[in-house]
């Protein structure tokens, strides 16, 4: 756990703050999204687009964007559209990822393509992707042309990295690659998770607040480290978490054959024995051929070899390094209370249990 003698929001107040921010961002999403159409089929498209955003995610990324903007002296309202687009980004990416990963559950309900089939769902993801750019173009009215274009460029960067990271992860599954090292995992996490979870939400807040390059640049390394720490905790929660609280299928990563730090660590620790072969055999099977007992076998191997402790300590190291950058960049915040909330949110993101 990250310890800090700094002022910090208690969990209750932080959650209350998250709820307030999410409410404001959800209102902007609802203003832009629930179009209706006289043709019932097209009306269904808009219902599909609104489905994941209505399922009640935590809104961490949009809150991060809003709080960074405030901490750097910007107005919260000026970042609402951008924060809403961040949420829309996450949702279209999840719609497509759930197909690509053959997932079953998302935020406590069946994934979208299990409700509507793959063809309509790919297209609904595309339509939501388009809507993301549409919301960003609305920025012109409140931010002017210059910042609107700068925000668009940051989204471009972020979405390129996100698709590269997703490609990397999917390729490993497709090519049944298990000869991976921690550096491979870190690269994949940086691209797949860090950019859209930490780096760009914070940079976008900064861009909107008019922050200078000396503030915006260090956010690359800060975001990368925090994002990887966030993903490692997510990998752990996926295996050990409470399904009701976590909202995804428990052990989904094992069922889907995901390359996590935990499985890479396990394979690096287990010698060339029958156990190792069994683990590789199980993990290489398609989802439909895997058994519950196989999943428990791998989980037990991980526990036996203290893989979860290892993951937690790697996440702690990364978070520590990120917070040392944070404390330099935000040494003289323009808005103290926003700064305390921002730091508390980041700590929550890398220490959360849901």
């Amino acid at each position: 756990m990250i310890s800090s003698k700094r002022e910090k929001l208690d969990p209750e107040s932080l959650l209350e703050l998250l709820r307030t921010k999410k409410k404001a961002v959800d209102r902007v999403i609802r203003e832009h999204l629930p179009e209706t159409h006289d043709v019932p089929e097209i009306d269904l498209l808009y219902k599909m687009m609104m489905d994941y955003p209505s399922r009640g995610g935590k809104g961490l990324r949009s809150a991060l964007c809003l709080l960074t903007c405030q901490a750097l002296g910007g107005k919260e309202e000026s970042a609402y559209l951008t924060a809403a687009a961040m949420e829309i980004l996450q949702n279209w990416v999840l719609i497509h990822d759930d197909i690509e990963d053959d997932s079953e559950m998302r935020r406590g309900d069946p994934v979208l393509h299990r409700r509507y089939g793959i063809p309509l769902t790919i297209n609904a993801g595309d339509a939501l992707h388009v809507k993301m750019w549409g919301i960003l173009l609305q920025n012109e009215k409140i931010l002017g042309k210059q910042i609107t274009l700068a925000v668009l460029r940051e989204f471009l960067w972020m979405t390129r990295e996100t698709t590269e990271g997703q490609h990397l992860e999917l390729s490993w599954v497709r090519n049944n690659r298990w000869d991976l090292q921690e550096e491979d995992y870190f690269l994949m996490c940086e691209k797949k998770t860090s950019w859209y979870t930490c780096t760009s939400p914070m940079r976008l807040g900064g861009i909107i607040a008019g922050a200078k390059e000396e503030i915006l640049s260090p956010l690359f390394s800060l975001g990368r480290d925090l994002g990887i720490a966030f993903q490692i905790r997510d990998d752990i929660l996926n295996l050990l978490g409470n399904e009701d609280k976590y909202g995804k299928e428990t052990m989904g990563d094992l069922w889907e054959g995901k390359r996590t730090l935990l499985i890479i660590r396990l394979l690096n620790l287990v010698p060339e024995t029958e156990e190792r072969h069994k683990i590789l055999r199980i993990m290489s099977q398609p989802r439909g051929q895997k058994q519950n007992e196989d999943m428990n076998f791998i989980l037990d191997s991980m526990k036996k070899l203290h893989v979860f402790d290892y993951g937690n300590s790697r996440a702690d190291e990364l978070a520590k390094s990120a917070f040392s950058v944070f404390d330099k960049v935000f040494e003289n915040p323009s808005n103290d209370s926003a700064n305390v909330a921002l730091r508390s949110l980041l700590e929550f993101m890398v220490n959360r249990d849901w």
Copy 2:
């Protein structure tokens, strides 16, 4: 066929012109697309993104954008990036459509997901979609902020309509709907085809040339009618065309269960008999259960009832109405030779045999 006493490019010269334009646009695409990456998996992502654009489409939409820009007094070069983005749009849409429609062939080769699997291919389509917005953001350097943003807004409109149209068509297949009338088909075509094939390519050329609203507005109806005429010819070519020349699977629309004007007309003509039941039974089967002889049975029914003549005459009517708008809008073109080429290209698009 559209007859015209106006000056007109002969087919050879038009094809030569298309090749020249395509070469210029392809150069821009290659400048922006074939990124390489040290990580071999990510390198593959960029190869996948470049796959369809390298297969040699006709480049009709980008040529339409360039020629409209020139005819309205703009410089061809100022529309290169936008024309390249038009081609990229078509390619990411096709990558996803081919999965959604369970297609087999595209421009004479297997569709992308039959080479790389569905998960990687959905993601590559997303990455190409992102790249489209990226190319459009480059416009700032040559067109300035104002027009760059106007072009982005037109792309937004176009992509929204395209995804609505695709949703409509896919819904009909999913819900096995055959109670459709020509108006339903026309609405679907307008959204799925007209916008990205005619309306927006022409409007974009106009926006870049600095055309006024009295020029840009009539392009809505002109584009709609031409786009529907284009789609009707495409439906006919799909059933009667030469596979080598056309590049797609012959009778692919029947295998995929597409709702075309031809099948709607056929069902409106065939009374409630055994023949009608057989047609509905065949068309409602999933691709894998259909037989070659079933396809020929439907083709013969269509020929017997002159469905193709009907389709051609509907396309002619729509084209006629579009050209009467064209001749008013482009009465005093700023560039005569570009105007002749533009009109010749539009005639070719609704009269082509490949």
